[in-house]
Amino acid sequence: MMGLMKPAKAAEAAKRAVGKLAETGLAPSAKSGRTRTLEGERTVPSGELQESSPPGEGSIIVHDLVKSYHGEAGTVRVLDGISFDIGPGEKIAVLGKNGAGKSTLVKLIGGVEQPTGGFVHRGLSMCWPLSFGGGGVHPGMNGLDNIRFIARVYNRPIQETIDFVEDFAELGRYIRYPVKTYSSGMKMRLAFALTMAVDFDCYLIDEVLGVGDQRFQKKCRDALFGRRGHCAMILVSHHKQTVLEYCSKALVLKRGRSRLFDDVEFALDLYSTL
């Protein structure tokens, strides 16, 4: 059955991706010389579509995502049919109360857990989520070894990465000590610097911008919204000001259901009444 489902879904993803490209003006619109027989018809040069941009390239597509967990009190459906797209450079806020499924959504988008139904297509290079845990640094290794690991996995020059992270994280000689001896603020500095050392197209930020001291917070914001301002972002946050300032869309989650709003202010109001 799985085999049969896939082509249909892939086709749908492709359709949506093509729509996306047309919206953002990346795909050439219908040739002017030809009369349109169907309403809303678009002509996309066939060669270009197949060769240069495979379907969904350049955007993240979440389609009808369902995730349920089995527990002692029966099956819990944490996410129940979530769909949205993120184009290049788009910043989207995810709002919801505790237990609304935000972190589960992050895990599914990050590809750590497999959805029960639906799919996630990642057409952008995705960052691991910046979250309180420190984002996948190994506690037993020292800072330098963690940097080397990331450099190897993402195929970056090792020395350059080390120089960058040492400079950005400002951990001084602590970078040679095991990460398990770090304070949570130090862990966060390291994790954040690591994500900045690799160019990603999309960042997943899980409630983290409030961590660290004032100066480092500012540095993070500058890096994230300044130098990396062109990147797409999924921002899970309770912080109203941040969401208003940076996000162009908001996804409100409630009991596993979602709604996408283009009006962020309205979404925030709605969220406060939940």
Partner: protein, 281 residues
């Protein structure tokens, strides 16, 4: 019922230079090897850190065990058994046994380690599993080599008869045991009771590794059963490479290879099946 599109795993700039399918396949293979290598180094550094001899403990730990057992067996059973030097018998037997034991014990938790690693788009579950299996195999072999070199320098053992045969036996055993480890890991992730039962069951497989006896010492009726067990075959092959034809050994590399391929493919399938049940935090 999921569709995990692979394209997202690639970095956009690192697209294969060749537009062909082979090019894409090769570049993915290169990525996978890069990731497995990084994971192996991470495993090595993460477990033992950089204190005192650091990651050399990976070799040191099993080497101590193997060395200790060789010493104990020599004390208990005398210097030779059935015309085979006790040191050779224990060294080969216990190295293989250690490989099997490590594979199995790693196997039960093989899906648990992956946790936050999977957030890196290039890292797949199978990468984390393969890196652990490779790591276990290589370090145990290094421990064997370490012990062997020590005994050789002290003059207790001869130079090995056929090193290549030993290495092949080791690789085939890794293939077989790695497949078993994957299966165990998958089943353990799926079912808790299975995990609980595994400890005692696996303890009883230890005699089946062939570490404590040779097939040729056994009566004919038992022999016919024993040659069907892949672990015993690998053990015999390993010993055959060590001592040469002075002792009769029963093994068939092709049978062993087929067993390895079979468990590996079944293990991969189980892994894929259990992947949907991975739950982090």
């Amino acid at each position: 019922m999921t569709l995990a599109t692979d394209r997202g795993g690639r970095r956009r700039k690192a697209r294969p230079p060749l537009g062909t399918k082979t090019g894409a396949f090769l570049s993915r293979l290169a990525t996978q090897w890069r990731v497995i290598r990084a994971l192996m180094i991470r495993d090595m550094m993460g477990r033992y850190g950089r204190e005192n001899i650091g990651f050399l403990w990976l070799i040191g730990e099993p080497a101590l065990l193997i060395g200790g057992v060789v010493f104990l067996w020599s004390l208990m059973r005398g210097s030779s058994t059935h015309g085979l030097s006790m040191i050779v018998f224990a060294l080969t037997g216990y190295s293989m046994l250690t490989l099997w034991r490590h594979m199995v014990s790693r196997g039960t938790g093989i899906l648990r380690v992956s946790g936050g690693l999977l957030f890196h788009q290039d890292v797949r579950v199978v990468d984390t599993v393969l890196s652990q299996i490779l790591m276990e195999s290589i370090t145990t072999f290094m421990s064997f080599l370490f012990c062997y070199t020590l005994f050789f320098l002290l003059g207790y053992v001869e130079f090995v008869y056929d090193p290549l045969l030993m290495v092949i036996a080791w690789v085939l055993m890794t293939l077989f045991a790695g497949g078993i480890a994957m299966m165990l890991g998958g089943f353990c992730a799926k079912s808790k009771p299975f995990e609980r039962m595994l400890q005692p069951v696996m303890y009883f497989t230890l005699p089946l590794t062939g570490a404590f006896t040779l097939v040729v010492w056994m009566p004919e009726s038992l022999r016919r059963v024993m040659v069907w067990i892949p672990m015993i075959q690998a053990q015999e092959m390993f010993r055959a490479g060590f001592t040469g034809p002075s002792v009769t050994y029963y093994y068939d590399p092709w049978y062993l290879f087929m067993c390895g391929i079979l468990t590996m493919s079944f293990g991969l399938a189980v892994l894929k099946w259990a992947e949907s049940d991975i739950h982090i935090g």
